[in-house]
Symmetry: C2
Subunit: 321 residues, 2 copies
């Protein structure tokens, strides 16, 4: 039987890049085959090291991922990169343009690169991205690099699924420093100051140290790594710091704990999204629900009471999917 005639799951598990690309498309398009595939290969997941990178746009995350990918390849580890782009449709391309910086690796069978934009299966980009990450994991990649834009509290939650979370900043990332300081941005496991040839780099590092000193003391001391990703400087140190973090969470037993909490949240998130989708469908299809909403707009019925009425109606013929 020719390679392409084998079942998709089999080819995926064997590490075939085209099968992986096809599988992710199925998930992205909410094709039931995609969900089935994830179900079938799920027992083969959990082996990859999942590293998450977040930070404001423009700090050079993609360049950094390119440099890290190069390093991992030199160490003979296979890599998958998943870039999640939450930008609004009208500026689409602003972030995807960065992908070009990863193009050195397009022909290497040991490197798989994929971007996902904002419209996922259930309307939840994180959920679609997690399915994609599971498929990458099942295909035997040693390392999965997740990249997303974050400048505040509510980054795309996919980052929560990383074993190690890296926050990438650059000199001038004042808003992010303030957000860390005010506690509206989560404290990451590793902090990178990229574009470190800038004269204000040391000021930035000092500010970050000041913020970290305010936080609770923990066993893991968050390293601040200076990089100049375009020239590959500091990238090896970053890789070392990330491995050190991984060893730390494995030793402390928190890796399993993290994964357990994240998987539980994931199950709840998928269930919630499905219920929400049902609700939205009922708003568009059900004239009684439409009427309820009209009464809210005309200030006869308050939003919470309307929500209760809709849920009572839905309970009978509801949320099976």
């Amino acid at each position: 039987m020719a390679e392409s005639e084998k079942p998709l799951a089999e080819r995926l598990l064997a590490g075939d890049k085209r099968a992986l690309a096809r599988a992710i498309s199925l998930v992205e398009n909410d094709d039931p085959q995609g969900w089935e595939l994830v179900r079938d290969v799920y027992p083969h997941t959990g082996g990859a090291a999942v590293l998450g990178f977040t930070g404001p746009p423009g700090v050079g995350k993609s360049t950094l991922l390119g440099a890290l990918t190069k390093l991992e390849r030199e160490r003979e580890r296979s890599v998958a990169v998943l870039s999640i782009d939450p930008s609004s449709p009208f500026t689409q391309g602003a972030l995807l343009g960065d992908r070009i910086r990863l193009s050195d690796h397009f022909l290497d069978p040991g490197v798989f690169i994929r971007s996902m934009a904002n419209r996922g299966a259930l309307g939840g980009l994180s959920e679609a991205a997690l399915q994609a990450a599971l498929l990458m994991d099942a295909s035997g990649r040693d390392v999965i690099l997740l990249e997303t834009v974050g400048v505040g509290q509510a980054d795309v939650d996919i980052i929560d699924h990383a074993d190690t979370v890296v926050l990438v900043l650059m000199p001038g990332s004042g808003d992010s420093i303030q957000a860390l300081k005010a506690g509206v941005m989560e404290i990451p496991d590793v902090i990178v100051v990229n574009k470190a040839d800038h004269p204000l780099t040391e000021t930035m590092v000092r500010e970050i140290k000041g913020v970290l000193a305010l936080g609770p003391r923990a066993d893991w001391e968050i390293p601040i790594v200076k990089t100049e990703a375009t020239r590959g400087e500091g990238v090896e140190e970053l890789a070392d710091r990330m491995s050190a973090h991984r060893q730390y969470i494995e030793r402390a037993g928190t890796l399993m704990e993290r994964r357990r909490r994240n998987l539980m949240n994931e199950v709840l998130a998928i269930a919630t999204l499905r219920m929400r989708r049902e609700l939205e469908a009922s708003v568009n299809e059900d004239t009684d629900v439409k009427e309820l909403l009209d009464r809210v707009v005309s200030r006869e019925l308050d939003p919470a009471s309307a929500a209760s009425s809709i849920l009572e109606r839905g309970a009978g013929d509801g949320w099976r999917r």
Copy 2:
């Protein structure tokens, strides 16, 4: 009958500040009385002008709100301020410290000030905050100022309920500029550059203009207002620009459209939160659900299949609330 013996709803509608404070506490604590109250007074809402302020921490939003409150009082309009603080528990206080800047107004019966922190009724800060804003509206306030910290795409959604959204930046807000440029931050109706005595103010204004020039052309040209809130400079111009925006949306008919869309989203959000709360309760109480989750953690059952199983189980005895 003494004033304090009258029903809470009646006192609230009469504009009593203490009744308003009590009502908001009921909503914040998820007391059924709070939801009833909102239901009873909802027909009296819709009269207030709702202005939303967002921006990174540290740019001086609270000082600006203090200055705007002063101006509105000089114009004999009553004001309610709702500051929403999404900071994490361990740094709590970092943002609430700002509240002191509004203290000039604590004794004025025409000014009501309230902060809400992250743990709302249904687990959704926005939903609790919206109920609070409706109570403020019903109590006859002319102007409601909503304040929240935002540095990215997913600000607390309460800002969506404002008729006019103001983004407050300062020289050095580079990350926010990048987020606007990349389309991960929503374009607001008015932009303020506060702390405008800084030498880099004009550079900042130029950068913002550059970003706005990339956006789609619209009938409303987004004004950029320079303020120095601690000295009250530029505050009157800001107030004028906000009124101009309000006149524009009233004339264009988009005010009703905006409110309609926001109320519909609100109904769906409340319904979704309630379903999610039920789900979470079932995870803690139901041994079968616990077992499903254990199987996910041990990689036997994938997250989406577990979600389906939970929803099927829930369908029978489900989501009534």
